[in-house]
């Protein structure tokens, strides 16, 4: 039997996210610009704003006591950030032109890279290297470290970073965005108020920037409310990443394709791995897979564990020790999934949440930062002329005329052909790269990942048992991510809890943090429908469930992982 998770939509109404301010006027927290998300986009925006405001004393005064506030749901900025990453330097150069590269929170400049096609036994170097993988001149970076760096810089410049704060509602009045509402803290499992219950607050601002990252809680509700959906639905890939201390330094940036992904079109397994050096004594390794796969037993975490057993990879990790683990989704819809407009009255959207990621070249960090900076410029230019204006449409223009849109347009159809399998997909993608997107041109329509029908296949049988030296199970990994969320917190995961086995199994295998489980007594009872048990406190907020038929909403501020160098 084949079932699509999209047939079991989550008990969640995005309209609930949009509310009017409710706090009495004198209890609302007033800030000049409210930025939701302490990631590259949000923090680049915050830093740029302060830089611009240095020359605008009048406007600064109008923005009040707190000109710029960044609302971040993690314990600190960087706690929830995870990516490869080979960052293009253009954004950092623009934001901090006087900062020497030796002070950048990066590991090294890429001087050597290679792409390998893996079979189960061999690693065949692909030469010439597919051009989209060429990273010379880019910098191996941990976005988690980048987040901390940008947050420190922002605080030095006078930005208020409100960490451990979830922005759970978008405040809208008369179709104008007024700010956000922070989440309650101190609720119990059933939503009841505990002894130390602290209600959230309305944070009102002249401009609100949504920079929420890959699964934008407010952003996607806003897409519905303001009718911003792009031509194609949002799509995602899931990446699971580990950091290893290794005795043998890695001298090149490596990408792999092929094994363990299966090539046949029916599996729809698109993805590959990345292995990047992190200085002399560490490296990171991750596996990224599109969430449109069709085998319900496919697990990115376990496929990564399997990948590590490949002789070529094992050799790179020889004598090493795993020191970090994490998981996060990447928006993969590209150009056609970007929203119709990036600004509505009172609000601007920047970064991953607006699908500004170029999956074929694996770039998103610098686009996010550039977008954040464009947002900052637009806000200052607009409010300078009229401090009460809510029209930030100039932001759309800036992005439209920028490399963000140009690059994404070029690769707009590159992801789609892989639904035809690895070889045909590869052929199409190459053709597109060479012709800069002009062949075959047009718009290759994409589908919602959750609409793919899932079948109970055999991927699960190939995964290794954890040996705790090279391979590890999910629970040990969640522990390593620093996740210590309290057990009596309300469940923030929205799914239907009685579904066909294929759907349940999809979630069980998909989730890298073992949030979903089928009760022991229903595992082998042959029933077509099963219950799904949710252990929300394991969740590392990767966002995969939103891609595959459920919905991730926000847990209490401060919950979730504490990534340090992912």
């Amino acid at each position: 039997m084949a079932v699509a998770p999209s047939e079991f939509p989550p008990p969640f109404d995005p309209a609930d996210v949009i509310v009017a301010p409710t706090d009495p006027a004198d209890e609302r927290i007033e800030v000049g610009v409210a930025i939701v998300g302490g990631g590259p986009a949000g923090l680049a925006c915050a830093n740029k704003l302060m830089q611009l405001l240095e020359d605008e004393p009048e406007l600064t005064e109008k923005l009040g006591e707190v000109p710029v506030a960044v609302i971040e749901k993690g314990k600190v900025a960087g706690a929830h950030l995870l990516s490869g990453a080979n960052m293009k330097p253009s954004a950092m150069e623009e934001l901090f032109p006087d900062l020497d590269k030796s002070e950048w929170p990066v590991f090294q400049e890429v001087t050597k890279d290679a792409v390998y096609l893996l079979t189960s036994k061999a690693a065949l170097p692909l030469k010439p290297m597919p051009p989209n993988f060429r990273n010379h001149g880019n910098y191996v970076t941990s976005v988690s470290k980048l987040g901390r760096f940008l947050a420190d810089k922002a605080e030095e410049a006078g930005v208020y970073i409100l960490a451990e704060t979830a922005a759970t509602n978008l405040l809208v009045e008369d179709r104008v965005v007024k700010g956000v509402r922070s989440g309650d803290r101190g609720r119990g499992k059933d939503g009841e108020e505990l002894a130390n219950f602290e209600p959230g607050s309305d944070v009102v601002a002249k401009a609100t920037v949504l920079a929420e990252g890959t699964v934008g809680h407010l952003t996607y509700a806003a897409y519905d409310y303001f009718d911003l959906h792009g031509a194609d639905p949002m799509r995602w890939e899931l990446g699971v990443k580990e950091v290893w201390e290794v005795p043998k330094p890695l001298d090149r940036v490596i990408h792999t394709m092929g094994w363990p992904m299966r090539k046949g079109p029916k599996y729809n397994e698109f993805g590959g791995s990345f292995i990047y050096p992190m200085g002399e004594d560490k490296l990171c390794i991750g596996l990224v897979a599109g969430l449109d796969y069709t085998d319900a037993t496919f697990s990115v975490h376990d496929a990564l564990q399997l990948l590590k057993t490949h002789p070529f990879i094992k050799d790179l990790l020889e004598g090493g020790k795993r020191v970090a683990w994490g998981a996060k989704t990447i928006p993969s819809g590209g150009y056609f999934s970007m929203p119709k407009r990036l600004a509505v009255p009172g609000m601007l959207i920047a970064g991953d949440a607006a699908s500004m990621v170029n999956v074929p070249t694996l770039k998103g960090v610098h686009y996010a930062m550039h977008a954040g900076m464009y947002a900052a410029e637009t806000i200052v230019e607009t409010l300078k002329k009229d401090a009460e204006s809510v029209n930030f449409e100039a932001y759309d223009e800036k992005v439209h005329n920028s490399p963000i849109e140009k690059d994404l347009y070029e690769s707009r159809n590159m992801r789609q052909p892989f639904s035809k399998g690895f070889f045909l997909g590869g052929a199409f993608a190459s053709a597109m790269t060479i012709t800069k997107g002009n062949f075959p041109g047009g718009h290759w329509k994409q589908e919602d990942d959750a609409e793919n029908e899932m079948e109970l296949g055999s991927a699960g049988e190939t995964y290794p048992q954890a040996d705790n030296e090279l391979t590890f199970n999910k629970l040990d990994s969640v522990f390593l991510s620093g996740n210590a969320t309290r057990d009596d917190a309300p469940n923030h995961v929205r799914i239907q809890t009685r579904v066909p086995r294929e759907v349940a199994q999809t979630w069980v295998s998909m989730c890298p943090a073992q949030v979903y489980e089928i009760p022991d007594d229903q595992l082998e009872n042959g029933a077509s429908e099963v219950d799904v048990h949710v252990t929300a406190s394991n969740c590392v907020q990767c966002g995969a469930i939103t891609a595959k038929g459920g919905r991730l909403t926000l847990p209490e501020g401060g919950d979730g992982p504490l990534y340090q160098e992912t």
């Binding site: 705790n468 199970n473 629970l475 040990d476 969640v478 522990f479 210590a484 057990d487 009596d488 252990t535």
Partner: protein, 324 residues
């Protein structure tokens, strides 16, 4: 010079605490190596023969401060500081327990002395004592030496074993002038037992129940087993989550941390979130039907089998052994 002074805690009936007895034995052993004698300090009006009996554990001498009340730390700091200074004693040693911590800490300030706590072993190096203590959640052992004298060593619970060697100690009474602040705290009620809620952190024996118990009713098996051994029942996060057992019994990363003499894990997989809460138990016995359960990697005795068959029989067997 040299010599080791041990604080001998006792209850209101004059029964000495076993950790204190262990510390006396330890002191006797060490004094034998570095020279000097092992002495004990007793506060309160404890009978001559009870004091002298501490010699059975190795104390050569017992200093008794009759007028100093037992149960609060600061008056005892006054007593020990005096005895240490009057007699040029080199080390103060405490068996595990709250009062030992408080007294040792007060002495640190009073005498400007180095202190090490949670000590699991003491060794002799170049005629001096070096204390070994676990650090960073027991991931490493630090060897700590002392600068100057005296040095204060506070043992971890159950670190030192009491050894009866036969012998009797000389009892010497000492007069202690209490510091003004030592009289500012008064004991209103000492040692109140609070019946039903057994504090699992203090239990010597714990039976931990996990998902393998099958249902909330499965905890009856755990309770009966615990009772047969005079222990208490603990639980994993998963079963507390499912409502099978109260949160007060939860052990692990987001629950309590315990280190009993025996942790019997029934139907527990041993995921790291649970492991970090009980991995320092002296003895770990695991029963689980899954031979690949992680718990078997760190248990001292692992039994692969159906706990529903094993546990009831085990309970019977233990009752029989104890009864017979």
């Amino acid at each position: 010079m040299a010599g080791i002074l041990v604080y001998a805690l006792h209850d209101d009936e004059g029964n000495f605490n076993k950790n204190s007895l262990g510390a006396i034995s330890e002191a006797a052993k060490l004094a034998g190596e570095i020279g000097g004698e092992a002495a004990a300090l007793v506060v309160g009006d404890v009978a001559d023969d009870a004091c002298a009996a501490l010699g059975n554990y190795g104390a050569a001498k017992v200093y008794r401060a009759k007028s100093v009340p037992e149960g609060l730390a600061q008056p005892i700091v006054d007593a020990m500081a005096k005895v240490i200074q009057d007699n040029g004693i080199s080390y103060a040693l405490f068996g595990g327990g709250l009062l030992g911590f408080e007294i040792g800490a007060g002495l640190t300030a009073r005498l400007g002395a180095g202190v090490t706590m949670e000590v699991t072993e003491v060794k002799v190096q170049d005629g001096k004592l070096v204390a070994e203590r676990p650090i960073l959640q027991d991931s490493q052992i630090a060897d700590v030496g002392y600068v100057g004298e005296p040095g204060i060593i506070i043992g971890r619970l159950n670190a030192f074993d009491a050894n009866e060697t036969g012998g009797s100690a000389a009892v010497e009474d000492v007069e202690v002038e209490l510091s003004p602040w030592s009289t500012k705290a008064t004991m209103v009620q000492r040692g109140e037992q609070r019946g039903a809620d057994v504090n699992i952190e203090d239990a010597d024996i714990l039976v931990g129940g996990g998902r393998g118990l099958g249902a909330a009713e499965g905890f009856k098996l755990a309770e009966e087993l615990a009772e047969s051994m005079g222990g208490a029942v603990a639980a994993t996060r998963a079963v507390v989550d499912a409502g099978w057992y109260p949160y007060a019994a939860q052990i692990g990363q987001t629950g309590k941390t315990v280190a009993p003499k025996l942790y019997l894990a029934a139907g527990i997989s041993g995921a790291i979130q649970h492991k970090v809460g009980m991995q320092n138990s002296e003895n770990i016995l695991a029963i689980n039907k899954d031979p690949n359960a992680p718990i078997f990697e760190f248990s001292d005795l692992g039994v692969v089998g159906d706990l529903h068959k094993i546990v009831p029989k085990l309970t019977e067997a233990i009752k029989a052994k104890k009864g017979g």
